[in-house]
């Protein structure tokens, strides 16, 4: 699960990680009072959306007066922000974070992530703060330090000191930096994060070590034990179709094409997208109804899929393993009768009780196109959209 920057900072502050003072705003009025409340003569106006690359899209502005703060806020708030990660349509900005400006002496990168190859949490540290860490790793790998952390000991004093020192933190501030990094690690571990990225972590002219920016994501599988994190979910950041699908226990991602895909299992769903592309057409979505789809899920799947008006044909590709094909066929027939779609539906069933499943489809009286193999199904759906 993703959270906003201001939420990540709230979580971090609760774990004793220092951040700048800031106020979340939903309107220009709130921006005005935030500026007054924070005081000083320099502020940062930051768009709060989940996608990364906000700075590149113009969603982060440093301002020197209340008037400038308001005009920056007016530019950003309620407007779509396009970043390298949002797609061309961008994401509407509904909240701003107004922060006090700080005097920056140096910008550092600090990140924690689960290293899939080493199967440990890794602390990544670089003196090149403010840059994408992938770029640092590619261009100047000698400026990136990775420390794998033993889950039994946590981030040790020695390792934290080595990391802080590598990143160029002055000796006088090493103790502070060690405390910062250990608190960051604790926030990561205690909340089942999957990413905690502080970019930049800054040393200020006041001799503080603080998280100027913060990005955190959390392991969906562990949310059951962190209800306070679940509360941070922001439905405005997710597409309506994807929310509807997830509530039905479906995994759905909308894409640009015109062939709707309804598949059981994520691997087979990806393979189904692959073959549609191989045959020269575009999938309209990824949709995994799970290994054992119920009638209700199949109905929900069709409903979500057909709300996308670009869909010109639907390919149902089911390999019934545990879920028997006759049960799936019953679900399909019920769903299609209830929904009554005009678009051609191509159904490919394989696996347990496949003969009974095919009989149910044939006797349903629905105008379905049945296919024997995945290849056959893909050819037929491509033919259907080409007319």
């Amino acid at each position: 699960m993703k959270v906003h920057e201001f939420q990540a900072k709230e979580i971090l502050r609760n774990c004793a990680v220092e951040t700048p003072r800031g106020v979340v705003c939903h309107s220009l009025d709130e921006v005005e009072s935030a500026v007054t409340e924070l005081g000083g003569n320099i502020w940062v106006v930051k768009a709060q959306i989940h996608a990364g690359g906000r700075g590149k899209g113009g969603g982060v502005r440093v301002v020197h007066s209340e008037a400038d703060a308001l005009s920056a806020a007016k530019d950003i708030l309620h407007q779509p922000l396009v970043t390298p990660q949002t797609g061309p349509e961008g994401q509407i900005v509904r909240k701003l974070l107004i922060e006090e400006g700080v005097g920056i002496l140096s910008e550092i990168y600090a990140g924690l992530v689960v290293d899939r190859a080493e199967q440990r949490v890794v602390l990544m540290m670089s003196p090149q703060g403010g840059m994408e860490i992938e770029e640092v790793a590619a261009a100047t790998p000698e400026k990136l330090l990775k420390i794998h952390i033993d889950p039994d000991t946590g981030l040790t004093d020695d390792d934290a000191r080595r990391a802080a020192s590598f990143a160029g933190i002055p000796d006088a501030l090493l103790d502070k930096a060690v405390g910062f990094l250990q608190a960051l690690y604790q926030a990561f571990w205690d909340n089942d994060a999957s990413l905690a990225e502080i970019n930049p972590l800054v040393v200020t002219d006041q001799g503080d070590v603080i998280a100027l920016d913060a990005k955190m994501t959390f392991d969906d599988s562990a949310l059951y034990r962190h209800p306070h994190i679940t509360k941070y979910r922001d439905l405005d950041e997710e597409s309506a179709a994807e929310i509807e699908a997830s509530e039905a226990g479906l995994s759905y991602i909308s894409l640009d094409g015109n062939i709707g895909c309804l598949v059981n299992g994520a691997g087979l769903a990806m393979a189904t997208m692959d073959i549609i592309k191989l045959y020269g057409e575009e999938p309209a979505n990824f949709l995994d109804v799970g290994g054992g789809a119920t009638t209700e899920q199949v109905i929900a799947a069709f409903t979500v899929m057909l709300k996308n008006k670009q869909v010109q044909a639907v390919l149902v590709n089911i390999f019934g393993g545990i879920m028997r094909c006759d049960v799936i066929a019953e679900g399909l027939v019920t769903a299609l009768r209830q929904i009554g779609t005009e678009v051609p539906v191509i159904v490919r069933l394989e696996g347990t009780n496949v003969e009974r499943g095919r009989t149910i489809l044939q006797e349903s009286g629905l105008t379905l196109i049945t296919a024997g193999t995945m290849d056959d199904a893909a050819r037929k759906v491509v033919q259907a959209v080409r007319g």
Partner: protein, 290 residues
């Protein structure tokens, strides 16, 4: 032949009295798998499916001589159930459970290192040596005994591939679903090592997907080993958009990493025959195995 399990393997089921544990144990017994008992804390001394139920894995192992265990326990109980099986010296633990927190798995991996246990999964369909032993949730009827070893991250695509193999007349030595989690137990490399030394396996089919670098690691291993058997591979998700998790927790392309191009190139460089289309598993295997 085959790897890890055969007709003599004695198997425990942790969580045997639950709906899924009960259902799949029953099916496994019907298939001929030697399920010898169950483990459910607090239910020791009872009988289920006409099998003894024990409070702990250690008791169950001592009383039944089991060397393998399959887990059908809820995600919040899975870490402790796995740790218990590892500590009891179970040689093969198969964890079907989906939705185990990543940090729990990091703890499990620490405990596995230096133990005598191999872990398959979590979030996996299980392992089958056709005609001998079926552990997990795979539809046993689609498998046939033969000489192709199969390793897969996904479930239903795995069944699809096996069905295609059978259509072309290729049975399987052992099929392993290693699962689609971010932190898996056995990897492609672990399984490839075992298939290399198995006289019953003539070729290996590897079914990967986007996300992580497990396929690249497999390629590196195959090249370094000058692997003595043909390896065929398919990578799902060639057209998956970046920064979107495609159903499986591990299936994501981010920051230019985890895409299929790299994986396919690495595999080709290691002399792996790449299946171009997910409808060509059978045909490609026919070309590779003469």
């Amino acid at each position: 032949m085959g790897i890890l399990i055969d007709s003599r393997t004695r198997v425990l089921c942790q969580g045997i009295t639950g709906y899924r544990g009960s259902f799949f144990s029953h099916r496994a017994i019907e298939y001929g798998t030697r399920i010898v008992g169950g483990v459910v804390p607090g239910r020791g001394g009872q009988k289920h499916l006409n099998l003894p139920v024990f409070d702990t894995v250690e008791q169950a192992r001592e009383m039944t001589g089991a060397t393998a265990s399959v887990l059908f326990v809820p995600p919040h109980a899975a870490r402790d159930a796995m740790l218990e099986a590892i500590d009891a010296g179970i040689e093969l633990v198969v964890c079907i459970t989906e939705g185990i927190p990543i940090l729990d798995m990091l703890r499990i991996k620490e405990r596995l290192a230096g133990s005598q246990t191999r872990l398959i999964g979590p979030n996996c369909p299980g392992i089958i040596t056709p005609g001998q032993c079926n552990i997990g949730i795979m539809p046993a009827s689609i498998y046939q005994p033969g000489k192709i070893g199969v390793i897969s991250r996904s479930g239903t695509l795995f069944y699809e591939a096996v069905a295609q193999l059978c259509r072309e007349g290729f049975g399987q030595s052992t099929c392993i679903g290693i699962g689609a989690d971010v932190v898996p137990g056995m990897t492609f490399v672990d399984c490839l090592e075992l298939f290399r030394d198995d006289h019953g396996t003539e070729a290996v089919l590897l079914i990967g997907e986007i996300g992580g670098a497990a396929e690249e690691e497999a390629a590196q291993y195959l090249a370094a080993e000058a692997y003595p058997k043909p390896v065929i591979a398919y990578i799902a998700g060639r057209h998956a958009p970046p920064y979107r998790r495609m159903g499986h927790s591990s299936a994501i392309i981010a920051a230019g990493k985890g895409g299929t191009e790299n994986k396919i190139q690495a595999l080709r460089d290691a002399n792996v025959i790449v299946v171009e289309s997910p409808v060509e598993f059978g045909m490609t295997t026919r070309k590779a195995v003469r």
